[in-house]
Each structure stands twice: as structure tokens, then as C-alpha cells.
Symmetry: C2
Subunit: 129 residues, 2 copies
Amino acid sequence: MSRTPQEKANLALVLGMFEHVLNPMDSSAVDRFISPDYIQHNQSVEPGVASLKAFLDMIKGQTPEAVHDVKRAFVDGDHVTVHYHVRRWPGDLGWAVIDIFRVEDGLIAEHWDVMQDVVEGGPNPIGPF
Amino acid sequence: MSRTPQEKANLALVLGMFEHVLNPMDSSAVDRFISPDYIQHNQSVEPGVASLKAFLDMIKGQTPEAVHDVKRAFVDGDHVTVHYHVRRWPGDLGWAVIDIFRVEDGLIAEHWDVMQDVVEGGPNPIGPF
């Protein structure tokens, strides 16, 4: 591991966003972590920061017990990868998610993600995490 | 970007695996890139290298025109992230996939992935890549 101070700061920014925005689903903290020019690649959300805030408010209303359980996170220059388990309610099998973030000038400037249902009883006894 | 020589080698190993194993779906090249003790977290494949080879042979038979189009790749220590677009046949919308690999002793030792259908006509006009 040979992370530069800038890489450590980029990783801390993204993990801070998980702690203060995504896990509490707190739209009021978005502007501390996410650029006003944020480029959103998630296929299910309209582009832009206002849409992201509305999305957070929606999921907080619908699934107030949701958790976003970070399993591993990596940084390479200005890109951060996070692998995590979303469970919408207690006992939910949930989704496996990998996000990639691009950091620019101390804020998250771009976001890609891929999500997949966690299944039970598949051919692989090793878990997805 | 401050990749160490070891990180550059780890990234090159994984991209070489895409070039020589995944894209040509060539099970005969697996052992050059993947550890015999490979830990597979993909939910749809049985564990182990023999199962991976059988899977490659199967998809090559079913979808011989499949492409695995790498969009971006990152390395942090012994972990490599690859974001790519699988298209099974010409015109296929395909899947967005993010893989995470752990490299040990010059071979891929562990693999996690998340896959999602690419959709048309969703709320976000920005593509998933």
C-alpha cells in the first residue's frame, strides 16, 4: 500500500460521504461532499444534485432502517472504489453494490455504480462479499 | 497518480487476463493468470478454477461474439478494480459490470463482482459508463 496524502484525503472524503450522507440518508449533508456539477451515471436517478437530495429523502422515507455496510474501499489517484451491502430492512438479503467515485477539488465530481440482488441458495456457497 | 511498480504489475496482470482469458473466453489461458486457490465470490458460478474454465467454455459456446469492453481500471495495493461493458451479441444492451480482484504472488487470488442490466429509456440520459 502506497497511498499519497492526496489519495488518503480522497478516500476519507468518500468514506465521510458514506458516514454523513448515505448511511443516515441525510440530504442536508450532500453539499459538504458532492460537487454542484456532480455527474451521475446511476441509471435510475435523474442527473444533478437536487435529484440526488430528493432521492435520499425518498429512500429515507421508504426504508428508514436501511444500512449501507462498507466491505472494502480502494483509492487510485482521484478515483475511489467502494464495495458495500445495502439492506433495506432487518433481514433483507439486499443488494451488493460497487461504486466508483471521481474526486475533484475536494468534492465528489462523478459517480458510477453497479447493483445486484443478493440471492440465497445459488451454486456458490461462498458469499458475494 | 502514484502507482508503485508492484501496483503497475498487478494492474497489468488483471488487464492481461481480460485480453487473454475473458475477451477470447479462452479457458486454456486461465492458469497463466489465476491462482489454483482462487476464491470466487460471483454468486452464479461454482467455486474453483475448474468451474471457471467450464464457465468460459460455456459462454464461448453460447455467445461466441461476446465482448468485454473495459471502460476504466484502478489499482490500490494488491486490489484491482475494473469497470466494463459486456455485450453478448451485436446490438445487445448488455451488462454493466464492476469486478474487484485481489492479486497474490503474481496471480489473481480472489474475485468479487457486481453485474446490472443496461437499460434504455430510464430517467437518466447520462449513460452508465
